[in-house]
Symmetry: C2
Subunit: 648 residues, 2 copies
Amino acid sequence: MQRKLKTLPLSKVKIKESFLGSRAKVVRENTIPYQWEALNDLVQDAEPSYAVRNFRIVAGEVEGEYGGRVFQDSDVYKWLEAVGFYLEVHEDPEIEEKADYLIDLIEKAQEPDGYINTYYTLVEPENRWTNLRENHELYCAGHMIEAAVAYYKGTGKRKFLDIACRFADYIHSVFGYEPDKKRGYPGHEEIELALVKLYDVTKNKKYLDLSSYFIEERGKNPHYFDLEAKKRTHSNRNFDNSYYQAHLPVREQETAEGHAVRAVYLYSGITDIAAETGDEELFAVCKRIWKNVLERRMYIHGGIGSIAYGEAFTFDYDLPNDIAYAETCAAIGLVFWASRMLQCEPDREYSDVIERALYNGILSGISLDGTKYFYVNPLEIWPERREKRNDRNRDRQARLQARRQGWWGTACCPPNIARLMGSLGQYIYSYKDNEVYVHLYLDNETEFEINGQNVVISQKTNYPWDENIRLVVQMESELEFTLALRIPGWCRDAKLMVNGKSVDINDKMTRGYALVKRLWKQGDDVTLRLAMPVERIQANPEVRDNVGKVALQRGPVLYCLEEVDHGKNVFDITLPRNAEFSIKYDPDLLGGVSVISTTAYRSEENEWKNTLYKIANNNRKIIDIQAVPYFAWANRAPGEMVVWIKEC
Amino acid sequence: MQRKLKTLPLSKVKIKESFLGSRAKVVRENTIPYQWEALNDLVQDAEPSYAVRNFRIVAGEVEGEYGGRVFQDSDVYKWLEAVGFYLEVHEDPEIEEKADYLIDLIEKAQEPDGYINTYYTLVEPENRWTNLRENHELYCAGHMIEAAVAYYKGTGKRKFLDIACRFADYIHSVFGYEPDKKRGYPGHEEIELALVKLYDVTKNKKYLDLSSYFIEERGKNPHYFDLEAKKRTHSNRNFDNSYYQAHLPVREQETAEGHAVRAVYLYSGITDIAAETGDEELFAVCKRIWKNVLERRMYIHGGIGSIAYGEAFTFDYDLPNDIAYAETCAAIGLVFWASRMLQCEPDREYSDVIERALYNGILSGISLDGTKYFYVNPLEIWPERREKRNDRNRDRQARLQARRQGWWGTACCPPNIARLMGSLGQYIYSYKDNEVYVHLYLDNETEFEINGQNVVISQKTNYPWDENIRLVVQMESELEFTLALRIPGWCRDAKLMVNGKSVDINDKMTRGYALVKRLWKQGDDVTLRLAMPVERIQANPEVRDNVGKVALQRGPVLYCLEEVDHGKNVFDITLPRNAEFSIKYDPDLLGGVSVISTTAYRSEENEWKNTLYKIANNNRKIIDIQAVPYFAWANRAPGEMVVWIKEC
């Protein structure tokens, strides 16, 4: 087993302003500066973060007590990582200055042995590494390492990378198989994949070995978390070890279990180690857990995690729509993992998931202006149920809301979206010797080195609103290579033209990619037409919550019905099985989206006054409905929303 | 306002063995002896009750520590009440001896001042009346009083009644408006309605006044529960005052709130006080809360309480099917309340609810053999979801199960069913001077005194399986009176014959009753035919969980689909809107029930292997389905069940 494809440095991928590009631009222009304010507790009407303040206290700049959760440092790191990604492509001295200031603070927070964690330094310095299960020290370290790598790549500055290496070296001295080391591993995975990134830039193999150690040791008996817990006087949590994916040694795991974000971060790390070490058995673990997620535990919008309690996977086909957790971070983590799988094994089943999550369950997590966020991304909502049910789970279910928030106590998702959108360029293409894979379709101009020659590929498209994608190849001299074009799983009718001539793709398909191998010349022009009728999508009938319902999808974009378009009770809209749909692009709606229109049924509500149950009379009225892209819901007014529409 | 109708002593109503009668007989023959064993911790494979043992410890018969919840005494009382009801009609020296033994124990547990509560006597004798909100002393007292009244009526023995009066006298000396008394009231209502029963047999008005006091004082400011809580060092609970229906003074309450059993016990007590005192304003409170329940907060099976947390009402139209709480006790309490409303205001809307709950959401609470019980009565269940979701509510949701239990820690429901079925005779008829109301249809022979003359009415029917009900009037001499026959709300076609001649009921209808006034003679024969086609019932579309679904009902009996008849995934059964139903009585199935058969649709599951989402193809196959009465579900094998079936 080897990683078959490579991704490009972000600096090689110039994203233009079509749909996804404009979303990435909003993140750069609005979200990054907004989150600086939020992390510095400067946003009015939003909960304070305390994240920067904690570093300033450690650095002696201000006085005060530690604020926020034990993992608050990670929000600073994720923001820095996003900044690193953007700086790799766009100069921005103002933001860079802020980032450098933060890095100075981080340096000051680093203890002489290399350790950094403002919570432990300020609150319980004597208890370092005593609660790996719950207290996120290694998780924060992982995010610092990822940020440092991105900032080094984005700016060329080594300072942050050196800080990270010192911390990683110290961690390496604490954890491992040697008798004098702790045999622990993190309660929240993240450092595993981060250490592989650090190895990638430093080529220092001990980071790879440490990552491998964390993965292999996980879940073994005697169980570290249990031994550790016995030495403590209290525990914050009652979760069992499956919540931490530590119920079994990693190589014995069969299904996706526990906290969804933890899970996909771990699976990403496992995939990295499998790819770096060529470990087939480890890759087989990834494959079978992937199949479990893809075939039984993933929402149609790419979200994962079915319930608030534990923010967790539950069991096969348990995908409730109203209490869906589908944390934004979990869908992002799924993209991280899918992308790693894709480089190992070029197959549409991975890139389809990347696209599914990106256009739906991730973009839904951020408002159109980039400054409000969803933690939880339900597939339907009846806001009264969330507001009025006095429920034992209310603290966690409170995150399940009908409006996005400016910030909140555990604001893991907002900077996670920022870093994903900042690194969008790495998900569009992969390549190897003489093959270029095109995974995502959006306007960009990208430079490859193929067999020693520079090749520039330009994409021009109004995807996902338009069916046509044009790719133009620019190069100095002729060169034979394969252009592998993803034909999305949602597409029933794809047409390809090269230099204006139709090309039959049926004999070119390999695992969902049309492999166009030819002697390419300067100016060669490829046009791909992916037919985008409105599709009624059904879920496997084992998903009991979706029987008798369809979701509307056009291209990669999932649609929903909102109260703002239909009045109260969008649940009472039923779609005829033979509905005919029309599509219209509305440049003034929701930042410019295509809207689906059709007619549907609704109850004759005036028959029902003061009646709760009565004999069915089959009366119903016909109404016009319009579905809007799910990712854009709750950008006009809060209210009811459904993705899965009843059919009749 | 006055109570317009009276109920009959149980001794006057001889129930025969048609459907409901045979259920009542099972309770007498199986349930009462079984529960004696359970209360004495003699049932293997069931959780111990400790309830009798606590009394035996107090009486010095055994040594040990108090066991069970603070309200464990009430289970003994409810069993004794059921025994009292049955002894009023059937001699049973063996059970009577056991009951007398318990009453001796209760006498020994009575402290010199009259107080009885084994929890406080054994565990915290110094803390009597310090935690009215949570600790159920007055609730247990209420159940003791109800039991004592029933036992006195059933056996003529005064001993238990005297014990109850001594306790009630003591309670009267502790609580009230006088400055030297506590201004408290119970956290769990029950004593209010019990004191009215005690007043009814003793004619001692102070019991009525005390009941009235408890009702009027409830929810006033300064709030007793809050003042009381301040004096304690700890609290078991975090519920707000609406859980206890103490969020507002009773006269200001508009909607049904909080713990559903508490609520309907309170509303029963309020109705009693309104009826006894002629207080129109108080009755108006009952009416408006009744309308709120009937029109917005009641399940189709007569269950109430939408969520496990707080076992509580939530908000209008929030009637989830899978997490429905619908505690058996709550449906029973709804019958208590409806019956009281019905005596004040003869109207089918009350008797329809009695019938709805009785045949569906209450009978479901007990197995066909009378020895297994449901605490919670969901409208659908996917057992895997209950077993595999590791949920924060799991302790309470654990009560939501796919199989009935032999006993459990808070076994309030089993003896509650026993006392309801033991007092079934009081729900069939009401009467006044020269009117006899027939509310329920089942085989019985009942003696009335109308204008000083004895009249015996015999009902002969195989209801609810058969449409025909025959009533024969026996009397010494002719007498004019009105026979008021309930025409159930579910019935679209009722035909009446008197002595073989058709009588048009259309001009005789008053609030759902056909008032047949005539000069009755010996042997007059009334035949009522209530057409019972299978009806597809819809819920108000505001109930978002039921849009696009129908429930099948025939006569008063609600039906469901069970896994045992259809294999896994009964959720994947869709009914055509034009389905044609056939009905067949099967004497060998589930103790003898009518089964509904029809054809329906199911997914082509072999299209779905390893696929979670795909483009809808409208394929489906036609299958035969059979629906069985909901009350009898889970008597064959545990499995999936749905009441609300998708329509297409």
